[in-house]
Symmetry: C2
Subunit: 380 residues, 2 copies
């Protein structure tokens, strides 16, 4: 982050700078840290961070740094546009945006509501989805909200805090890189999700969307605050690492390290606008332990000997053992040396309403949710 008031790099630590209020901004130099943080927080989902970094870098170089704002610093009745990529990350990784989609979504949002969009918000903090909306903010000259609608990444639209807060899922706006657009209005989020998902498949498996348009006052009670700065701080801390990079992440997030070892199997299928599959990690110590990950865009559950070590809505992320960087699910492959960590989700997901849409049963997993205790501990 950069102090806009100083028109240059700030000198404090990132955490200190992040606390200084509404004049923070995100510049090109912040992108690698932001991407690292988003990828770890994204539970393996939200798309490939490299794509996000490349697009955001180009947009910021051309249009200048993006102001990062708290919802408290925006007018109550301003229109906030939560947005990002939807669909299968395996497809999004090579079906790139043209950059104009955000403008297309904003124009549609403004035409439908008759109000200007005052700020762009990522609907999830994940691999590239913490960065792509930033790209649009840069191009549109709009601030970027330091919040998101999940505090992680999830695969479907009901799994957003805006849904838990009762924000209408209509209108839902979609676009693709050809700037084809869709406006969906339904009687409920299940229908919106159904139409969004079928259209994502029709768009070729990946598209972009603006979801849960709302005013600032509503957004203050309906989102996870501080997600963007948290990702930035985490990514910045990861860059300072001189010791074991996975330990750094575990400590920063008060996470639990579930296993450290080698990816020995990956099964992955792209269908219906999702990636589904599983991966198996074998421990490096020669004890023969195996950890199985169940995947739907994100890592849903980690199982060992038939026991659930961690599961949704808690956050499970696979880290590269050498660099500590997160490996998104579409990049998982045989032979990778990894550590698998888990850390607690935002509290809202542990409520009955949160678990109803984002707990194991919501993904068809046949076991109850057991909250992960905050850890900061190494694998046993």
């Amino acid at each position: 982050m950069t102090q806009r008031q100083e028109r240059g790099r700030g000198s404090g630590t990132p955490a200190a700078r992040a606390d200084r209020g509404p004049t923070r901004s995100i510049d090109v130099d912040d992108l690698p840290a932001l991407a690292r943080g988003c990828a770890v927080m994204g539970a393996g989902g939200g798309g490939d961070p490299l794509v996000g970094v490349l697009m955001a870098r180009e947009a910021i170089q051309r249009h200048g740094p993006v102001r990062l704002v708290d919802l408290g610093d925006l007018p109550d009745d301003g229109l906030v546009m939560p947005c990002g990529l939807v669909g299968a990350p395996t497809i999004a990784i090579e079906k790139l945006e043209n950059g104009g989609e955000g403008g297309c979504l904003a124009a549609e949002a403004e035409a439908l509501t008759g109000r200007p969009v005052v700020a762009i918000m990522p609907f999830e903090i994940g691999g590239s989805n913490g960065l792509i909306p930033l790209t649009w903010a840069a191009r549109l000259g709009l601030p970027y909200v330091d919040a998101d609608g999940m505090g992680r990444a999830f695969p479907t639209m009901p799994q957003m805090t805006m849904n838990l807060a009762g924000v209408s899922s209509s209108p839902c706006l979609m676009a693709d890189e050809r700037l084809n657009t869709l406006v969906i209005r339904t009687g409920g989020v299940e229908w919106t999700e159904r139409l969004l998902r079928s259209s994502t498949a029709a768009f070729g498996g990946a598209a972009v969307a603006a979801l849960y348009l709302m005013d600032v006052a509503t957004a203050r009670r309906a989102t996870v605050p501080g997600s963007v700065s948290r990702a930035l701080e985490l990514g910045t801390a990861m860059a300072r690492v001189e010791i074991d990079p996975i330990d750094t992440v575990v400590e920063e997030l008060a996470a639990v390290e579930l296993i450290r070892g080698k990816v020995i199997d990956v099964e992955r299928e792209t269908s219906g606008g999702f990636v589904r599959g599983s991966a198996i990690v074998e421990d490096a110590t020669g004890e023969g332990r195996l950890l199985r990950l169940e995947i739907q865009n994100e890592n849903l559950a980690a199982l060992e000997d038939g026991e659930v070590r961690a599961c949704v809505p808690d956050i499970i992320t696979v880290l590269d053992a050498r660099t500590g960087e997160a490996i998104v699910t579409e990049r998982l492959r045989y032979g990778q040396r990894v550590g698998v960590i888990a850390f607690p989700c935002p509290e809202v997901w542990r409520s009955p309403a949160g678990l109803a849409v984002a707990g194991p049963a919501a993904f068809g997993l046949r076991f109850p949710y057991t909250p992960l205790a905050a850890g900061g501990t190494r694998a046993s």
Copy 2:
């Protein structure tokens, strides 16, 4: 049709009444004839006419007769809304409309264009699709345009005369019986069709749509005029039949009777928002002749001994041998006694542009188009 100027039933023959200009109207008593005519003209498609009659009867009983107007009688800059059912007729037959969809589509059209809808037009003349938009016209108190966008029924959106005339396929409006709505805007009709079709499947296989919104001046050069009155006249003539009912249809339409006999096989599959399949009719004379029909919502081709007897864009319709009424493709079944007739499509479909979207190749049929000669002849 009824003379509105007389505030009651007219006394002339239907054909004579149809010629009397802009004060014609469609009342409950006209519906059976209109349905019969639409079903014959619809090439086996456009949905089940019974559903259309029942819905139109209820709407007209409640809201009064609907004025039938020529495009020449409407203001140049008035907004015309072509509309109807989309999807698989096998599904539409039991997934009924709630009646409010037309109002929903019109409200959306008016909000998007900022102009009032001055008239409702069926986008195709087919089984129920000549009647469902009439239902909406009754409920909205709007006139019904004596024209359509095909002069028959076809399964997809490029296969409309508005497309040949260069009318934009955007915005395309969809709704379902829960009044979920979609607005689709794309760079071309292929994308509009793709999104419409995937959404139709997501809606459960059938939905309603308003397509090719246009002003009256454009509609005059972009539609098939007189379709509704032609269907009414045909249906009225069929009711007068005292001799062979199939002969009457053949004579009215200058059609060719391809075969008369029994349906001995029907293969039908509902997928991707369409019904596809084939049917075989064995002749009744004991000569062992077999006629095979290829189907995609509509009857696409009639083949005998490997020879193409008739094919799209010409119109092939299966008639009940006893009543002369058309049997829509979703009602075809083993054992029915039928006559299969074919008659020429509107000339616009025989142009290179027409054949490109609606000729055999457009349906994946691997034979060239041979225009059907106007007949009025019995099967050889």
